[in-house]
Structure formats: structure tokens, C-alpha cells
């Protein structure tokens, strides 16, 4: 599915956290959103996913406007997200986390007529766990997982909704180099296999330029530039504002 934002604006007090941003994420693309701390990247995701209401502008999924809808309604429209700080259900096991998400996706969250899990949820949960390499941890209580596995579980929960668009807020935040590589492999693998429109926020430029097809640069809430990694790397405004002298050599 195609995701598009037009003239998106959000102010906190007098400060424009997102200022007239217009961007297009074509169906099936893999895009990165980069920018210095406080550039408005997480706010951008919170607006798209309905956690925050924009002060202006529109958000469209396949041409249909979703601006102002509830989080639950946006989820049902096919948009899933994972968080900068992994969000999951800490007292449940990994499998219970995923079975509960599958039940929610199937509209069985209010089912009182049977016992948990509903039929088929376990098989589906194990499939999703396998997709993200969590098979060995399915019986562990989520609170006891490593940081990296918790981030993977957060993404797995989003995938349980069978989204067409997936937003990942810093999937490699707080990870060591080895864990980062594993996470990025998984993300790329899931993107290709599920034919998702995937947008991720990332600080590691090496990762961004390696896997992203398209890059959008935010700076103080404004869209500084958007285009292919090569174009972004060469963009003088981006170099001046963000990449600075540490711009990776072509």
C-alpha cells in the first residue's frame, strides 16, 4: 500500500515539531527517515499512526484519508508500528504475546465463548516467531528477553496484524554492532518476504545507505531533502545540516 503525507504540521506550544512535510512512500518501498535528535522523526511516526493529532495536513493510505482516525482504526486500515523503546506485554511469554496479538487482529479480543488461545492462533504465533528468529524464546516470559529480542518481539507484534505498511522507530536503538547486523537482516528479510511498505527511523548512516531505497531527511521539523541514498549523500544542504564532515565517502 502507498503511504502519503501532505503538508503535515504539528506544533507543541510555539514550536513546530513537524512543519509542512509532504512525502510519498510508494507501495512496497523501503525508506529511511533520518535527522538529528529532536528533528521530529518520532513525532512524524506518532502522527501517521494516530497517537498524535496533526494541527494541519493530511495522511493518506492508498489515496484514502486517515487523518484524525483512532489508532485502532488506522491499525485496521493496514498500518502497523514498532517503537523506539520496545513495547510488548512483559508478564506474558513470547508465544502468549503473539497469540494475543493474532487474536486481536482476528477481532477475537472480546471473545468470552472459549478458552485462550483461539484455534489456529498458536500455529500463526509460531510462524511469526520463526520469521523473526524468536523460535527458541517462544516459552520465555517477555520481560526476561535480551534487549535485542524485545525489539524483535515488538516488531513481531506489529507483524501479527498482517500490516501492509510498517513503521519501525529505530529498530537498532541501543544495540551492539553484531545485534544491529542481525536486526537489519531480519528487517530486510521481512520486508522482502511480506512485500511491505516499510519506513524506518535510523541513526546509523551506514545501515541507512546500505539498505534503504529512499531516504527522507528531517531537520527541526522541516523536510530538508528526500530521494535516493546517492542523491541524499550528495545533497549540499544535507551535508551542511546533518552529515557534516562525517559524510560517508561515495
Amino acid at each position: 500500500m502507498n503511504l502519503e503525507v501532505r503538508h503535515l504540521t504539528k506544533r507543541f506550544g510555539g514550536v513546530a515539531a513537524i512543519d509542512d512535510v509532504t512525502l510519498d512512500f510508494p507501495s512496497g518501498s523501503l525508506s529511511a527517515v533520518i535527522g538529528p535528535n529532536g528533528a521530529g522523526k518520532s513525532t512524524f511516526f506518532n502522527l501517521i499512526s494516530g497517537a498524535l493529532l496533526p494541527d494541519g495536513g493530511q495522511i493518506l493510505v492508498d489515496g484514502e484519508e486517515i487523518t484524525g482516525r483512532s489508532q485502532a482504526a488506522i491499525v485496521r486500515r493496514g498500518l502497523g508500528r514498532a517503537f523506539q523503546v520496545a513495547q510488548f506485554f512483559p508478564t506474558l511469554t513470547v508465544r502468549e504475546n503473539l497469540m494475543a496479538a493474532v487474536a486481536a487482529h482476528r477481532g477475537q479480543w472480546g471473545d468470552l465463548a472459549r478458552r485462550f488461545p483461539p484455534p489456529g492462533a498458536r500455529t500463526r504465533a509460531d510462524e511469526i516467531a520463526a520469521m523473526l528468529g524468536l523460535t527458541e524464546s517462544v516459552d520465555r516470559v517477555a520481560a526476561t528477553l535480551s534487549h535485542g529480542d524485545q525489539k524483535l518481539l515488538d516488531i513481531a507484534l506489529a507483524l501479527a496484524l498482517e500490516p501492509k505498511i510498517l513503521l519501525l522507530d529505530e529498530p537498532t536503538a541501543g544495540m551492539g554492532p553484531e545485534e544491529r547486523a542481525r536486526m537489519i537482516d531480519r528487517v530486510q528479510h521481512v520486508w522482502a518476504e511480506q512485500k511491505l511498505t516499510l519506513v524506518f527511523i535510523e541513526h546509523d548512516m551506514e545501515i541507512v545507505f546500505r539498505i534503504a531505497e529512499r531516504v527522507a531527511v528531517l531537520c527541526y521539523g522541516r523536510l530538508l531533502a528526500a530521494g535516493t541514498p546517492a542523491a541524499i549523500r550528495a545533497d549540499p544542504a544535507v551535508i551542511a545540516a546533518y552529515l557534516g564532515t562525517e559524510a560517508p565517502k561515495p
Binding site: 513495547q87 510488548f88 506474558l92 494475543a100 487474536a103 487482529h105 479480543w109 472480546g110 478458552r115 507484534l157
Partner: protein, 318 residues
């Protein structure tokens, strides 16, 4: 559905034991204990549907217990409804009240939720105290529960009341167990663990929260009905805040993460009261010491403690 059959078996066995006990040994004190336990345990377990099961800490759950007792006693005194109809109508009215109170409260977060529920309970308590012509005020509702014998059950006989309470206790606990073990019960655990994540899985949070608030209110009212039968009337203390506190103690003593924890806690609390009220007038002090021992010593309720014990490692705390 394995869990369903296992729970059915446990419920059936408990029922057979409870109903068979008076045949094996006749002890009015034991029957008396079970009758009081059934009221408190239904109340405490219903509170734990909110506290442990959904992360909604209500300080005003006694409202529904008190409402159940007064509504039932008044229906029995002032109408000619049969026992069963009076019970069902009381539960229906309790559901309506819970729907109204819940509609106001469930959007509030943590401490605000706790205190607004408490405020509404105290409002109800004031109404009971001041509406003397209907409720008897601080003297309680006098006049007894009229006899209405149906199908050979005479609720004014202790033996029959015991059977009635035993059946409703087991049936009520079984129904609540089913709620917590259903996909709906899992949704409540998700909300307890992480509301934001639950919302992003497409769950409209207010609906399950309101639903469990109403269900918990209905089961608390069922406890109130049994209490009303035991005392042949109703007392304003049922709707006063210390009584809500008793249920919270029962939950804490027995174990917040074990389904039968509140039942165990209720039994401990009642037994402590019975023993120490006889020995000393400072039974409140004893109760306080015991609760401190549990809170600081075991760090959890009895059943939670036993569950963690056999090498299962630390159960994740919330």
C-alpha cells in the same frame, strides 16, 4: 478446551466436598464460616478481576457489594418476587449501576480512577446513611428477609443457606475463572501490561475496560446478596470504605496473580478475625502485623509465593 474441562472437574469436586461435608460432620461453625467466606471470596475475586486481571485499581468496589445487599434485601421485603427473580433482578440493577459508574471512571488513569471510584462509593454510603425511611440509616436494614420456600429450599434454615451459598460460590468462581481464561481475559492482561501496545494492536481500550468493570460489579453484588442473606438484612458498613479495604487485603494476602488467591486470602482473613477477636480486642493490630509480614516477608500473597517456590524461577512482576 482442556483448561475448561480441568476447571469443571475442580469445580465439581469442590461442590461435592462442600455439599457432602455436613453429612460427614455437623458443625454449625464450619457452615457459618463457609457462608461468610462465600460472600467475601466472591467480592474479593471480583475485585481481582479489576486489580490483578486488568490493572484497574478500584478503591470503591464495595459500592457494588453494598448495592447488592441493599437491593436484594429491599426487593425481598417490599415485593413478592421469588428468591431467584430477586437475585437476578439485583444482578441486573447492579450491572446498570456499574455501567453508569464505569462510563465515568474507566477513562481515568491509575490514582484518579482509584479515587473517583472511592468518591462514588462514599456518595452511595451517604445516601444509605441519610435515606433512613428506605434503608434504616445507620441502624441497617431491619426486618429480616422474608421466607420464600421454592423447590424445598428454605433460605432461612442455616443448612439450606449453606448449600445455597456453596453452590453460588463455586458457580461464581467458575464463571470468573472462565472470564480470565478466555481471549477476553487475555485482552485485559494485555491492557494491564501495556495499554499503548494494546491500542496499537487495534483494541478499542474502553470497551473491554467497561465490560470488565460491569462484570466485576455484578459478581461483587452476588457477594452482597449472600451477605444480606447471612445477616438477614443489610448494613451500611457493607458499602463503607474499610470493607473495600478488606477485599484489597484478601487479594494481597492470597495472591494477586493466582486465580484462587483472593479466595485463599478471604479464608485467611476471616480465620484471623475469628481467632483473634476471641483472644484480644486488638484484633485490628494483629491483622495489620500479619499483612505487614506478608508484604515485607513473602513480598507476595500465599498462592503466588507457592507458585514461584518450586524452582520455576522468578515470576515476572508487573
Amino acid at each position: 478446551m482442556n483448561g475448561f474441562w480441568r476447571d469443571s472437574g475442580v469445580a465439581l469436586a469442590a461442590l461435592v466436598l462442600l455439599l457432602g461435608a455436613p453429612l460427614a460432620f455437623s458443625s454449625p461453625a464450619f457452615e457459618d464460616f463457609i457462608i461468610r467466606l462465600s460472600a467475601l471470596a466472591l467480592f474479593a475475586t471480583s475485585l481481582n478481576l479489576l486489580v490483578g486481571g486488568s490493572g484497574m485499581i478500584s478503591f470503591g468496589h464495595g459500592l457494588f457489594y453494598g448495592f447488592g445487599a441493599y437491593a436484594f434485601a429491599l426487593l425481598m421485603q417490599r415485593t413478592t418476587l421469588s428468591l431467584a427473580s430477586a437475585v437476578l433482578l439485583t444482578l441486573f440493577l447492579a450491572a446498570l449501576v456499574a455501567l453508569l459508574v464505569g462510563a465515568v471512571c474507566i477513562r481515568l488513569k491509575t490514582i484518579y480512577f482509584a479515587f473517583v471510584t472511592l468518591a462514588i462509593q462514599m456518595l452511595f454510603y451517604s445516601v444509605i446513611i441519610s435515606w433512613v425511611s428506605l434503608t434504616g440509616g445507620d441502624q441497617g436494614l431491619q426486618g429480616g428477609i422474608p421466607r420464600r420456600v421454592i423447590a424445598g429450599i428454605d433460605i432461612n434454615q442455616q443448612g439450606h443457606l449453606y448449600q445455597f451459598c456453596a453452590v453460588l460460590l463455586v458457580a461464581g468462581l467458575f464463571a470468573m475463572r472462565h472470564i480470565t481464561a478466555s481471549p477476553f481475559g487475555m485482552t485485559l492482561r494485555m491492557i494491564r501490561d501495556n495499554e499503548a501496545r494494546a491500542a496499537f494492536l487495534g483494541i478499542p481500550l474502553w470497551r473491554p475496560k467497561l465490560a470488565i468493570f460491569v462484570l466485576a460489579g455484578v459478581f461483587a453484588a452476588l457477594g452482597g446478596i449472600l451477605a444480606s442473606l447471612f445477616v438477614s438484612g443489610a448494613y451500611p458498613e457493607f458499602a463503607d470504605w474499610p470493607f473495600s479495604g478488606q477485599a484489597i487485603f484478601a487479594v494481597m494476602l492470597g495472591g494477586i496473580d493466582s486465580f484462587l488467591g483472593p479466595l485463599a486470602g478471604s479464608a485467611i482473613l476471616l480465620a484471623l478475625n475469628d481467632i483473634f477477636t476471641r483472644l484480644t480486642e486488638y484484633h485490628g493490630l494483629v491483622q495489620g502485623v500479619v499483612i505487614l509480614l506478608f508484604a515485607l516477608g513473602l513480598r507476595r500473597g500465599v498462592l503466588d509465593f507457592l507458585r514461584v517456590l518450586p524452582g520455576r524461577g522468578e515470576v515476572a512482576s508487573r
